[in-house]
């Protein structure tokens, strides 16, 4: 088609009514003249329509016609329209909501400068992986590489802020270039300055996270330049990070301090010089034109060079493995199955919705049989009728998708709020979401619209098949949802109602994180002995004991057992069982200073020695001397884990915690415990927590998941109910017609 022809076509579209009139007039004249000789033949209207078709706008005419007719029909039956749009909005909306989340997490970069050149690096060797590295190693890479334009490091810490002794907030110790390099602009004051904030002897400064600044300091604009205390030490507030800034990995933090101030916040900390500890996350920005593979290649040589200096702390054949860091999440081998499961589920929900709607459409088609046969006998072609019905479905599909888009914004927002996601994740409509919505609309329309449209034109009998297919889809989807929901609820119920095997209402933990302060085992032993002695004297305290794994904490130390089981390895003081009320079943407890003995849980004994007497057996070169009840203090209700207890070793003391069993209200004891715990060593700021608070927090995630699943299940149920109602009404219409004709 030439340009001028296209121009003429558009001209015809714009001047249609005049041109149509002219054509009618012209053809009328023709007939008049012709009638002088012979009677004209043919339908004048039809002939005119055929001529008009040459203008090339026939499809448009028919579309407008169908849409007008369709919307008139929908307006005429508001109940049907409302039901159909609601069903579709639910089915499509939840899919779009899922896509919204995927879009935010995986497709959209983090709100940082130049996200595509950011990478995180992991230490890798043929035998293993480490996510973190030591600060001196990070510094070595920074000084000797040729591939990075920037090297950044982050260490996750917890510190006491001002006088909040028993609530330690997450704080990140970072290389001073971190905030600037990620393109943050201060919301108030200034950020960390790479040129002098990590210089030796620099003034200790802190940059607050926006949300923490709001919640803890009431967004006080005059805070800049003032000092606040972290772990009891004064830090000058340099400024506040922008509202949406989350850094990399989107880890929660209340503030950022320069890593060089770590020994100031944790007196005795050796983080800056110690090769043995690996607390730093390593991030790098690649120079322009450098590929991640080239960076990994160079890291091999650098690691080998570092190994010459530190043969104990660098692995043989070590190198750095890169992963993109500019995105919130990424699809990898681990997340792919979960993602596909979620997609399958939401598509199932859409299928249920479409099947339900398809039933409704069938019911309507039954009621419209009359109308359709009248149209067919008036000369409407088959294709034309299908097109008419499909246009009506398309209209419904678009309405439903528009409503679904609104619903998805709301649902995604709700989901993000429920899961306490970072603030910058804000669902909106961008081109990806819009494209996805259109795709969903088309898919849905094809599914719920095409079958009834084709069926409407067929003789009575074969309609049962479409109905059967739709009902089967619906029932299958509904059943699957019910099964999964009930499985999940059962799991949750177990977590909520089954006793974890220990008593946690009256227990307090004191976590001093001595490792951060660079304590040696001997110093740690002295510290804990003093602490235990002081705490024991306090009113309300019943039992005090050390344990290497804090109850409901995030540390765990595990070993593999046969058949996929895992043992959780505790090091304890003998009073630990009394402190947590773990029942003693057989044998005897540890004796002070005893070595090479172990106490196992009931389930571990069953896993390793089913039907045999566990006492006297050897486990990891230790003799089993006792059996206690199962107490899942770290893994809660995980049935694949079992506990092993062995005596406390000196090395472990620097990371261990003290558990305290109290009588009376534990909240009251906490308040008097804090100053006591604090007074043992002025360098250390211990966290004093109620185990029952940690327990409640631990159940938050399953609770949220159950909430979401419950919403999905109820939606599926509602869809099935509506579809069934449609089916019944369809059958009634069909039977009524049949009884009437009988």
């Amino acid at each position: 088609m030439s340009i001028s022809e296209l121009g003429r076509r558009i001209y015809y579209l714009l001047n249609r009514s005049r041109l149509e009139r002219e054509l009618a007039e012209e053809m009328a004249a023709h007939r008049e003249m012709q009638s002088a000789q012979s009677a004209p033949f043919g339908n004048a209207w039809r002939l005119r329509e055929e001529s008009r078709d040459v203008w090339g706008w026939g499809w448009w005419d028919r579309l407008v016609q169908d849409l007008t007719f369709g919307s008139r029909l929908l307006r005429k039956s508001p109940v049907f329209t409302f039901t159909a749009v609601t069903i579709l909005a639910l089915g499509v909306g939840l899919n779009i909501a899922g896509f919204q989340i995927f879009n935010l997490m995986v497709l959209k970069p983090l709100p940082v400068r130049d996200p595509d050149t950011l990478f995180r690096f992991y230490r890798k060797c043929p035998q293993g992986t480490s996510t973190n590295m030591s600060y001196p190693a990070l510094d070595f890479y920074r000084r000797h590489n040729t591939v990075f334009s920037t090297v950044m490091g982050v260490k996750y810490d917890r510190m006491a802020v001002e006088d909040d002794q028993n609530v330690h907030v997450p704080i990140q110790s970072v290389t001073a270039n971190y905030l600037e390099e990620l393109g943050a602009t201060p919301a108030a004051g200034r950020l960390l300055d790479a040129s002098h904030d990590d210089a030796p002897g620099a003034e200790p400064v802190v940059v607050l996270e926006y949300g923490f600044w709001e919640s803890r300091f009431g967004a006080n604009p005059g805070l800049g330049g003032k000092t606040i205390r972290l772990n009891g030490r004064p830090f000058t507030v340099a400024g506040v990070a922008p509202r949406d800034f989350v850094g990399l990995e989107a880890g929660k933090t209340a503030a950022w301090i320069p890593i060089t101030q770590h020994p100031y916040a944790f007196p005795g900390s050796t983080v800056l010089s110690n090769h043995a500890e690996s607390p730093m996350q390593f991030f790098g920005r690649l120079k322009p034109g450098v590929s991640p593979q080239e960076a990994e290649g160079e890291s091999k040589q650098l690691a080998a060079a570092l190994r010459e200096e530190q043969p104990e702390h660098v692995w043989k054949d070590e190198w750095l493995m890169s992963r993109p860091a500019g995105y919130m999440g990424q699809v990898d081998e681990k997340s792919a199955p979960v993602l596909s499961l979620i997609s399958v589920f939401s598509l199932l929900l859409l299928t249920a919705a479409c099947a339900s709607l398809g039933n409704l459409m069938l019911a309507r088609a039954a009621a419209r049989e009359q109308e359709i046969s009248v149209r067919a006998s008036l000369g409407a072609g088959r294709a034309r009728l299908v097109r008419q019905l499909l246009t009506e479905s398309l209209l419904l599909g678009l309405l439903g998708t528009a409503a679904g888009l609104l619903l998805s914004l709301w649902a995604a927002k709700a989901l993000l709020v429920i899961t306490d996601a970072p603030r910058f994740l804000n669902p909106g409509v961008d081109y990806r979401v819009l494209l996805f919505a259109l795709l969903m609309a088309t898919l849905a329309t094809m599914f719920f619209g095409l079958t009834p449209a084709l069926q409407a034109l067929r003789p009575q009998k074969s309609k049962t098949r479409a109905r059967n297919v739709l009902v089967t889809c619906q029932v299958a989807a509904g059943c699957l949802f019910l099964v999964v929901a009930s499985l999940f609820l059962r799991g949750l119920d177990r977590a909520l109602n089954l006793s974890p095997g220990f008593e946690y209402q009256q227990v307090i933990t004191i976590n001093s994180d001595l490792a951060s302060n660079g304590f040696e085992p001997a110093a740690a032993l002295a510290y804990w002995n003093q602490m235990a002695a002081r705490v024991r004297q306090m009113p309300g305290v019943e039992t005090v004991a050390m344990v290497s794994l804090p109850p409901l904490g995030n540390f765990r130390s595990t070993s593999r057992l046969p058949n996929g089981y895992e043992s959780v390895n505790y090091q304890i003081e003998p009073d630990y069982f009394a402190a947590l009320s773990i029942p003693f079943l057989r044998g005897r407890n540890l004796r002070p200073a005893e070595k090479d003995v172990a106490i196992v849980s009931e389930s571990l004994a069953q896993i390793l020695w089913p039907g045999e007497d566990p006492l006297g057996k050897a486990y990891n070169r230790k003799t089993v001397i006792g059996v206690v009840g199962n107490a899942r203090t770290v893994t809660l209700s995980d049935p694949a884990t079992a506990e092993v207890y062995s005596p406390m070793e000196p090395m472990t003391l620097v990371t261990s915690v003290l558990v305290v069993r109290v009588s009376g209200k534990p909240e009251n004891v906490v308040d008097s415990l804090v100053p006591v715990a604090r007074s043992i060593d002025s360098r250390v700021a211990p966290a004093v927590t109620l185990v029952k608070d940690s327990y409640a927090a631990r159940l938050e995630d399953p609770r949220r998941a159950a909430l979401i699943l419950l919403a999905l299940g109820l939606t599926a149920l509602a869809l099935a109910a509506v579809g069934l109602a449609g089916l019944v009404s369809f059958t009634v219409t069909q039977r009524t017609a049949r009884s009437a004709s009988a």
Binding site: R8, Y12, E26, H30, M33, R48, E50, S51, V54, W55
Partner: protein, 108 residues
């Protein structure tokens, strides 16, 4: 004499050909083709007007309102230079094809 349908695709060419000598209105085009074909070819309204719309759309002719010999308001079609060119190429194409068909009919 029985009425004969015009072979498909040739109506546009015939219409362009009869317009070569000057503007005509729709009915006159039909009449002219009828007469010139010794009353063999019958142009139906149902095929003429789509063909004329096509000619207008392609820009081979323009149309303007005038008064017919019977004092009726009618639309006259006037060939454009583009239409003249189109006629030339269609006539030569048609000639080649008919000759080829004839050749097949004679020798096969």
């Amino acid at each position: 004499m029985p009425k004969t349908e015009i072979p498909p695709g040739t109506l546009v060419m015939l219409a362009l050909r009869v317009l070569q000598h000057g503007p005509l209105h729709g009915y006159a085009i039909a009449q002219r083709i009828h007469q010139l074909s010794s009353e063999v070819l019958q142009v139906e309204e149902g095929s003429l007007y789509p063909a004329l719309q096509r000619i207008l759309m392609k820009g081979w002719a323009t149309a303007e309102w005038g008064i017919s010999e019977t004092n009726r308001k009618v639309r006259f079609y006037r060939l454009t230079p583009l239409g003249r060119k189109q006629l030339g190429s269609e006539v030569s194409d048609y000639g080649r094809v008919t000759e080829a068909i004839q050749a097949v009919l004679r020798t096969a």
